[in-house]
Symmetry: C2
Subunit: 547 residues, 2 copies
């Protein structure tokens, strides 16, 4: 048995488990490939301070698909191209704590590996760095047994772009419309990235343009050190062993965010009360024993430490999110909230929630400019891939992590869990037990973090860490309160309209009856009816002003 024990290359592992990377079915593989390339393009542009302009082209011929994604990013230096596209677990984003779309160094090489597996074709890359005279062109595949890139052809060529990258992939794919389509992915990407301009050419040759609504790039997220809360003991010990600091005080201040001299001294003081062996601010990190480290770990949890810095996280922003929603979907009522930053396992994160409720005109009644109630003309429901549910359907969830839409694995996502665990009946919605609420509504949730804990390497759902669940729920509650207020108002308008219609219908009869009973003249009768109408109108107006 012993002789059969062998090392497993990470590429072999993921080749056999390609569904872990999002390449299980041809339809999903196609969307995943587009997503990985677009995510990379966006990260590269933003990091270089360039307003992203991306073109996506998909063609599909009897089960064989071609995806071309081209960006105006900074380009990739020739020496790095092969490894970036032809090696799993290679990249610049894993070893730092900084908000970005990619983080694992796997996505685009995985797309390449899938193409290689299904149609046997390498990736075709052209990239030009600003200032270089020529662009580099390369065909790259992965040697899966060694997880190393194989370069097939390589040359320099003229390219009309001053800088940018173009990647072309062929694979077994299946183009489809609907909620899991390239269109929906791009549409949602446009919502979360209002500074992005996309041109999309679909397999029928039709072009779709998503125009940017702002020329302002989002601020660049700061790179940070881990927050001391949530650092595991074992990681603390590893950090103590690897630090360049030569004192415990220096270690705490240098290796963590939110720890100043004063907080560090406090931690060391509290740690002293937890351990028999002395600990001082001048203790050498590498000479700290296991029990002392354990005491230090306990002390950190007991010390009051500032909340994480927020400049490491760049939320979309309430205004931008509202603009994006207004641009891409039509609804009767919008609300949005950005929560303050929090942390899980030492990683800062921030949650944004938005709700879009009702088909336009869905409420059926409105107050017109003169203050009178009137029936509202229901507008045509917009065609195509609508992001708002029908009124007898579960609400649509628009899930985002670091500005990337999550299209698959909804059932296992922290966002879904938070929505189903929220009591929507309390806010006036119908909700089957343990399910999503049923309403003509879309709920958008964005989780931004320096490290998003995805439930699998395909990055399709967020792991429900308790701290993350809690923040999403708080955001949902805030939006739900505002929605409930809107719905109450709608209900009032409705009731009032009904009442008014009813009264208007009977007012003449009441007048006639009063005339009989009180022996009024016709003029007296009409004036009484008018007065009644006025009184009823005033009471309604007061009611309306109430909330």
């Amino acid at each position: 048995m012993a002789s059969r024990q062998r090392e497993i290359s990470v590429s072999e592992f993921f080749l056999k488990n390609r569904h872990l990377l999002g390449f299980d079915t041809p339809a999903k593989a196609l969307v995943t490939a587009v997503k990985e390339a677009v995510d990379n393009a966006l990260d590269a542009c933003e990091e270089a301070g360039i307003l992203p302009e991306i073109s996506v082209e998909v063609s599909d011929r009897s089960g064989k698909s071609r995806v071309i994604v081209e960006d105006n990013g900074p380009g990739i230096v020739e020496g790095q191209i092969a490894r970036i596209f032809g090696k799993l677990l290679y990249g610049s984003k894993f070893h730092k704590l900084s908000q970005s779309r990619g983080q694992q160094g796997m996505g685009i090489s995985a797309a390449g590996m899938y193409g290689q597996l299904t149609v046997g074709k390498p990736l075709h890359i052209i990239s030009r760095v600003n200032g270089e005279k020529l662009a580099s062109e390369m065909h790259v595949s992965i040697d899966t047994a060694r997880n190393q890139p194989d370069i097939h052809r390589k040359k320099q060529l003229k390219w009309d772009r001053p800088h940018g990258t173009r990647v072309e992939m062929e694979m077994e794919g299946h183009y489809q419309k609907g909620p899991h389509s390239v269109e929906v992915y791009l549409k949602q990407t446009a919502i979360a990235n209002p500074h992005l301009s996309i041109t999309y050419k679909d397999p029928q040759g039709q072009e779709l343009h998503f125009v940017r609504s702002t020329k302002k790039l989002p601020p660049r997220p700061a790179e940070i050190k881990p927050h001391p809360y949530g650092i595991e003991l074992g990681r603390l010990i590893q950090m103590l062993n690897n630090t360049k600091s030569r004192t415990l005080l220096g270690f705490l201040v240098d290796e963590f965010s939110c720890v100043g001299r004063k907080t560090a001294l406090k931690i060391i003081e509290i740690a002293g009360t937890h351990s028999d062996r002395k600990l001082s601010d001048r203790s050498h990190p590498r000479h700290i024993a296991h029990v002392q480290a354990a005491a230090l770990h306990k002390a950190i949890q007991k010390t009051r430490i500032m909340a994480p810095r927020t400049d490491c996280i760049v939320p979309i922003g309430e205004k931008q999110l509202l603009d994006g929603l207004h641009k891409e979907l039509e609804a009767d009522f919008f609300t949005v909230t950005t929560r303050p930053a929090a942390a899980y396992r030492g990683n800062p994160f921030q949650v944004e929630v938005a709700i879009a409720y009702g088909r336009p005109g869905g409420a059926g009644v409105e107050v017109d400019a003169t203050g009178h109630l009137r029936k509202k003309q229901a507008e045509e429901p917009p065609a195509a891939e609508n992001l708002i549910a029908q009124k007898d359907e579960p609400v649509r969830l628009l899930r985002f992590a670091n500005r990337v839409p999550l299209l698959y694995q909804q059932a296992s996502c922290a966002i879904t869990k938070a929505v189903t665990q929220t009591n929507w009946r309390g806010y006036g919605l119908h909700q089957p037990k343990g399910s999503l609420p049923v309403a003509p509504m879309a709920i958008l949730v964005h989780v931004a973090s320096v490290w998003v804990p995805y439930t699998s390497e395909s990055k399709e759902a967020i792991e429900p860490y308790p701290e993350i669940l809690k923040e999403i729920k708080l955001g949902l509650q805030e939006c739900a309160r505002r929605l409930a207020h809107h719905l109450r108002h709608q209900t009032q308008l409705h009731q009032e309209y009904d009442r008014r219609t009813y009264i208007e219908k009977y007012l003449p009869h009441i007048g006639a009856a009063l005339q009989d009973i009180l022996a009024l003249s016709n003029a007296e009768r009409d004036s009484t009816v008018r007065k009644l109408d006025d009184v009823l109108h005033i009471s309604r107006t007061t009611q309306r002003a109430e909330p």
Copy 2:
């Protein structure tokens, strides 16, 4: 930017993403650690042909847990211990197609890595190979930056076991009762492994014994070659390049299962019609061009090839599964089915489905030995962690893959998907739209395969590949038909009991009325009533014999 591009060690990757391996919360981490150790123990015993006897001990002190798992397996040779326990992606099961619990070479080292991360303690291993005088003892941790084992202490010692392995882990853990407890994991393991004997000592020091119900080991699954259906073109090309065969004919016969000379010649013949370039049975595999390989790939899908061999898969078996269910849970009605083997992506698999319905006595009426209907005494519902749902709850799912119970990620599992997509109303059950049916019922599904496609490295759910979904649904339908028959019979018994009670109540009145109308004597009246009763009884009996 280029200078920051770096390689990411697989251990670092999973350390940062420890939830991918099932170590997100302390409660789950504890169960996962037990599971990984028990899975390994079972695999080792069965591979060596030893009836497994396993002891599990869990202790829990203020958030710090200790897990000890000991087996009577074949033991591990000293030179392999460190790598098996201290390196991710290392093992004997990845590179072969053969049904086993472990397949990735990650589980137990991941548990060690988690312990190291949270409490800073290495794994403690003792192992003795049969025939060796002494056992080897080792403390092993992982150097995560290099994904290599670190051995801390190592010695030879006397051990009373002739052969076996003992692993002791310390970690941040939280012991809990309920559906995600160590007890439930072990109970379900006992159901799926009737040849297994487990002793479990919980943190309160209480011992629980799961006694084996058979002394027969399951037959050893054969190791196989991939089935040609579902092999991707890229993989085919890779296989052509790596084969030792020097002719195409030899390649097809040697590298695939279910392909004999005749089938291989047929494939080559069909491939010839798809490609301009000639292909013969004597073509050298390494000289086959891309277009020819593509033609070969197409030809394979068009050729009729035998279904996969079934000796590579060892289902639990209908009888054993029924025995296991009877032993561990009480219900009114049991049914079980084992589907024939099928394949996805070239990997053979087989599905077993069982249903346990109703609390004992739940139907309320039964036919007694004399053929008469009578009220049935409802038995006490069994206490503790019951595996059958209450009658107003969604059914309980007992999910298994290669005899291992799956406790987490139910929502994203192919088994859950298949159950919710089955129309249970057609079989007489209540089922909210898109949900699990609501009934006092447990559904057990076992998927056995030479390669189970899990949705994440923690192996908690099965990826819903279409072929797998289909087979599970067919199994469910078969069981559901039998259940529907049982339910119809129950309903009939009920209706009949009601009718009989009703008639019995009114028969004397009918007699009296007849006496009045027909002027019968008392004796005639009584005889008429008796005859009526008989006639009605016969019609009922006939009815009962009908289905």
